[in-house]
């Protein structure tokens, strides 16, 4: 019996630049070419000016903890060996948020506003996993 593999994200034409940057270790988000509003996750139209023109901008990496959960049960078998793990909702300096793994911290030290930095860690499928660490 072969072990169950982790789910692989299905990249789209819209999201490919995000994943291409992630594979290079860089967190990029969309930026409206008309009004400069940044957004995440990727979408077709700027919610402020409805422009369909956009580019991609590298985030500063400065971020803080918004909320979290600590997984103790594997709802998918491929994650069982990693329990317990922290899923962190993170405020990026630019405004949008990101969800990532959070490592290098004990549960009792988790608090809203905790400064974080990120890296991408490749999983068994080669998917770049956004991973946060306490900053400094």
């Amino acid at each position: 019996m072969t072990a169950e593999k982790k789910p692989v994200p299905h990249e789209t034409e819209l999201s490919k630049p995000y994943w291409d940057a992630a594979r290079q270790g860089v967190l990029k988000i969309q930026k409206c070419s008309n009004c400069g509003t940044v957004r995440h996750y990727p979408q077709l139209v700027c919610v402020e000016c409805y422009s369909r023109e956009y580019g991609w901008t590298e985030t500063s990496g400065k971020s803080t903890l918004h909320s979290w959960t600590i997984a103790h049960h594997a709802f998918h078998a491929a994650f069982r060996d990693e329990l317990p793990y922290i899923l962190a909702t993170v405020d990026l300096e630019e405004g949008p948020r990101a969800l990532g793994r959070l490592v290098g911290i004990e549960a009792q030290d988790l608090k809203i506003g905790l400064p974080l930095r990120y890296s991408f860690v490749s999983d068994e499928n080669g998917t770049p996993i956004l991973t946060f660490h306490p900053a400094g």
């Binding site: 982790k6 789910p7 692989v8 994200p9 299905h10 990249e11 789209t12 999201s15 995440h40 996750y41 918004h66 909320s67 979290w68 959960t69 600590i70 997984a71 103790h72 049960h73 709802f75 998918h76 994650f79 990693e82 793990y85 899923l87 909702t89 949008p96 948020r97 990101a98 969800l99 990532g100 793994r101 549960a107 608090k111 809203i112 999983d123 998917t127 996993i129 956004l130």
Partner: protein, 383 residues
């Protein structure tokens, strides 16, 4: 202009709720539907609108085939998960008020024992595509893992505690123990709750709803027709659905302590011309314990952040100020997508609540919660 007082729930039906059923979902839907139609005193051929619950469920065509409906005038699906039941009542009332239909059937039913579990089901749904692409690969697989950060944020901002979550869980269980058609029959203490294993912090096992097999169905008719139908008339006096900001991603939601219900509830209460204090019985969508606390706040029973203390001291239990989920809810009766909440509300307002009847209940509400925080609310009255 509103739908207040335009229609009534004239028929309700449920199968036995269970785990490990071998019956196909369609069979469960048909049994519940026939019971609801019988309860309304109608023939299956009287149904002229069908709004099935569940975007992967049986289509309206199945009810034409099985019931011999000669001229079905409307079918649609409301794809907002556990908020769909009440949203579909709103659709049905609109159809009835505009003269398109006379009697609308809203059937639900599923077999989770032979079908996919929630953690797999949701990732086949289009409204989860951001989650499926950007969050699932991290290990954010199930609704519990996606919703838990909302609860954690509330705890950190407002001091809400797991012991307050326990108050919700033990109230639902106490009602299930008394109810004739509930899956979970073993009484639960606060200690039982606290000792249940951690699933995804802050949710313990007993903060999580069940996966259940069964069916539930409603018949919606005009208030005028309902006057002469078989059952005591239970009118819908306020109904609304509401979509949260960033409905496809909790991660990106500006304020993740607010649900779509925060937009729907003020509209429904305004239609009904009543205030939360006027509610005799509440059937609140309880996919997880925290979601009950959050919805109580979003409906205005207390201020944002005060829901934890609100549920203490047995307030949600029979005999308390706000008897809630008199059937045991999704936590302890069965997870039937909140259709069981609507059925139970109607039963309470008819005075057919059996051992969990709230004495003298005249006005009550049911809520729905779907997908990543869609909300719906129906306020009903015996009249």
């Amino acid at each position: 202009m509103s739908l207040s007082g335009k229609g009534a729930i004239t028929g309700i039906g449920e199968t036995v709720y269970a785990r490990g059923s071998t019956r196909p979902a369609l069979d469960l839907q048909i049994e519940a539907s026939l019971k609801a139609i019988e309860d309304a005193g109608l023939s299956p051929r009287d149904i002229d609108g069908v709004i099935p619950i569940g975007i992967t469920g049986a289509p309206a065509e199945e009810f034409i085939h099985n019931f011999g409906i000669e001229d079905l005038k409307f079918s649609a699906v409301n794809p907002i998960g556990g908020a769909s039941g009440i949203a579909s009542v709103q659709t049905a009332l609109s159809l009835i008020d505009s003269g398109v239909c006379n009697h609308v059937l809203i059937p639900a039913g599923r077999n989770t024992s032979i079908g996919a579990k929630a953690g797999a089901r949701i990732h086949t749904m289009p409204q989860f595509h951001y989650v499926t692409e950007f969050e699932l690969p991290l290990g954010a697989v199930s609704p519990a893992q996606l919703y838990a950060p909302m609860a954690r944020r509330h705890m950190e901002l407002f001091g809400t505690t797991s012991l307050q979550f326990a108050q919700v869980a033990i109230a639902m269980r106490a009602h299930a123990v008394l109810h004739d058609n509930a899956v979970m029959k073993k009484p639960m203490t606060v200690e039982d709750h606290q000792n249940s294993r951690m699933i995804t912090d802050p949710y313990r096992l007993f903060d999580c709803s069940l996966e259940s097999d069964g069916g539930a169905a409603l018949v919606v008719s005009s208030a005028e027709r309902a006057r002469d139908m078989k059952q005591p008339r239970v009118q819908v006096i306020g109904i609304a659905e509401g979509h949260p900001d960033s409905p496809s991603s909790i991660t990106q939601r500006h304020d993740m302590t607010k649900l779509g219900l925060s937009k729907a509830a003020p509209r429904a209460f305004a239609q009904a011309g009543i205030k939360p204090d006027d509610i005799d019985v509440a059937e609140i969508y309880d996919c997880f314990t925290y979601q009950v606390i959050c919805q109580i706040e979003d409906m205005g029973f207390c201020k944002k952040g005060e829901g934890g203390p609100f549920v203490e001291n047995g307030r949600l239990q029979l005999g308390g100020a706000l008897p809630t989920n008199t059937h045991g809810g999704l936590l302890s009766q069965a997870h039937m997508l909140g259709m069981n909440h609507i059925v139970e509300l109607v039963r309470q307002l008819r005075g057919q609540g059996g051992r969990t009847q709230v004495a003298g209940a005249e006005v009550g509400l049911a809520t729905g919660y779907g997908d990543l925080g869609d909300g719906s609310i129906a306020i009903m009255a015996r009249a």
